[in-house]
Symmetry: none
Subunit: 206 residues, 4 copies
Amino acid sequence: MTDEPTGPVRKRVRKPAEQRREEILDAAVAVFADQGYRAADCQDIADRAEVGKGTVYRYFETKEVLFLSTLTHVMEQLKSEAEAAVTVSGDPLEKIRAGVRAYLAFFDSQPEVVELVIQERAEFRERGSPLYFVYADNERGGWLALVQELADQGRLRVGNADAALRMLEDLLFGTVVSSRLSMDRRGLRERASEILDIFEYGVLAR
Amino acid sequence: MTDEPTGPVRKRVRKPAEQRREEILDAAVAVFADQGYRAADCQDIADRAEVGKGTVYRYFETKEVLFLSTLTHVMEQLKSEAEAAVTVSGDPLEKIRAGVRAYLAFFDSQPEVVELVIQERAEFRERGSPLYFVYADNERGGWLALVQELADQGRLRVGNADAALRMLEDLLFGTVVSSRLSMDRRGLRERASEILDIFEYGVLAR
Amino acid sequence: MTDEPTGPVRKRVRKPAEQRREEILDAAVAVFADQGYRAADCQDIADRAEVGKGTVYRYFETKEVLFLSTLTHVMEQLKSEAEAAVTVSGDPLEKIRAGVRAYLAFFDSQPEVVELVIQERAEFRERGSPLYFVYADNERGGWLALVQELADQGRLRVGNADAALRMLEDLLFGTVVSSRLSMDRRGLRERASEILDIFEYGVLAR
Amino acid sequence: MTDEPTGPVRKRVRKPAEQRREEILDAAVAVFADQGYRAADCQDIADRAEVGKGTVYRYFETKEVLFLSTLTHVMEQLKSEAEAAVTVSGDPLEKIRAGVRAYLAFFDSQPEVVELVIQERAEFRERGSPLYFVYADNERGGWLALVQELADQGRLRVGNADAALRMLEDLLFGTVVSSRLSMDRRGLRERASEILDIFEYGVLAR
DNA sequence: CATGAATGAGTCTTCATTCAT
DNA sequence: AATGAATGAAGACTCATTCAT
């Protein structure tokens, strides 16, 4: 009959816009990966970011925009880590190996990103190719050049550089997704050498 | 002034239960793959199966049960096609090759199954490992025996049969999913030989 | 901590679509007139109509559609009552008088309709001319013919039949709205003769 | 990726309170009349008045207070214009005519005021009689005295001065509202003589 | 058994209001 | 005093599920 105890009202804090945005994105990565896009309540994200729900909407127009921004956010991280990795050496094979290790290391430390990739496909089918593949396509040219360089140096057994790269892409994607979904507990990082070895020389003795 | 909710009344038709069940499952595969689990309206599935909505619920307790039954339905198909394939020859390598071809052929002709696998993960995270991986685990013993046989015959370059198989699994899974999601138009069937070749002998010259 | 007593679940009742529609419209007239369009909660309308909220949406796609249907509903009533009234006599003046009496009687017995007219203007400004005036325009031809007939019989003091009619329209509209909004308690029905008298012969002695 | 919420920071300007108040009211008249009370965003009013949103709330406690202040603002204008008009002559009939002309002229030049009157009723039903009618009531005594004076001079055909005045009020209100809502393009000013003529002598020949 | 009208819990989004700066 | 970032209450609408016919 009387006023319910209204609970401790959140202390208002003002922060720079960029920082707020980051905090919300980080909270969103965690919540979307944990609950899934649909099940995630925007209130949960707000709570986790320690802001009001209205603040989330101040920075991201809709839940959909928030999700896609979240995914873009992590994809940019992956991209920059992979790009950083290839600078380690001049040898194309070493560059490729470094890229593969960086890719696996990324998903090793942030396996929940896999969930976001899957969520996007599940919920935004109509948007066409998922952002993961959009990013992969954009980066492909650089990687193909490396493989082609190997071919030009006569170091490739197979004639088709494109097919070799495509296989590597599929292998890595499959490994990463499969590792997350099958709840495989072996670390991706540890498997890198093994994967590269088979990719390079196959499983059969000659 | 408004849409009066009056459609043509469906005629009541009685059919054998098993047939009804199949018809509903087929409708569900199509609708779930096309719309996604969330977006799929149970009414659409009922409409497509040409039954009343209540009938859908007579056969499947909830939407969730219907979806998982649908996925099981297609997984059983994949399983039986792959199992049929390996009987073609006595040679373990040939069996593996035949299995790979059957796997790729299955997803070549029913690429939308990929959507169901993704949907399951997206919407039923809490249920643990997706059915795809449950099936894969169940089948794994047979495949591992084949690889091990190769190893015993000294035909394997790598010492670890398990790692070799795991790599093949990831490669195939990645290929199939990636092919669907990146809207790659090359047929999976055509790529089988190429994929097997690299899997067997790697990309590098020795 | 335990299940709240869920309250008496509404007994499901199936009724003919047309009857349901009418019941919802009647409830909507009452609620919209009482609360106003914005303040009206669709749940209130559903409660008053003794149906679930979903049922309201089954019959009317949106709150907006429901409101406009409600207004149309009462306008149709006004229209048919006014049209019925003019059949009473052959004399054009008597017809006009009967129409005026019917119009006033309508708003006398359903003064809340005024609120709906006002609500429409307040909330759907962009839709152009309110339905009240759309209806008035549609009916105008018939009334103008009557006034013109009077003019042709030399019974009109003023030369402009259109202006005379327009004045009558404005007078009636103003009377009805003003009566409702100023909370004038005199009945519109009783004022009919007085209004007609002044309309016909003015206030000044000659 | 998204709209960063960073606009150009408004320069702080200090102005006399009364001037600020006027500027906000003027902005509010325009925005409320254009968008309607509900649809009007307080931010829009602040923007139009070129102040921060907080400043609006410094001058007017709530949106409701702001709206009612706005309406009072324009009602005061109407009142003073009508009062000024009646001083033109000593003859009661001429005074009434001047008042009618002033009333119509007011709404001719500020037709959007009609919207505010309607908005008030639509949104503040519970407050009782709208301000328009409160003002009308307050002024009524003076006008009734004029009509009574006519009656005392034997110049009234009808016995009831109150009824005559009430009819004039309703007629004017109806004319003004109807003119705005039906999107009638004839000017109110031009119609004044015609309206007065019929009000005075009716439409019928004797 | 089969049907589809009826139900209501669940959630995104808006925007008036507050208050730290 | 002035500002606008932050807040959260409120409500339309959807759709899985039920059940009277």
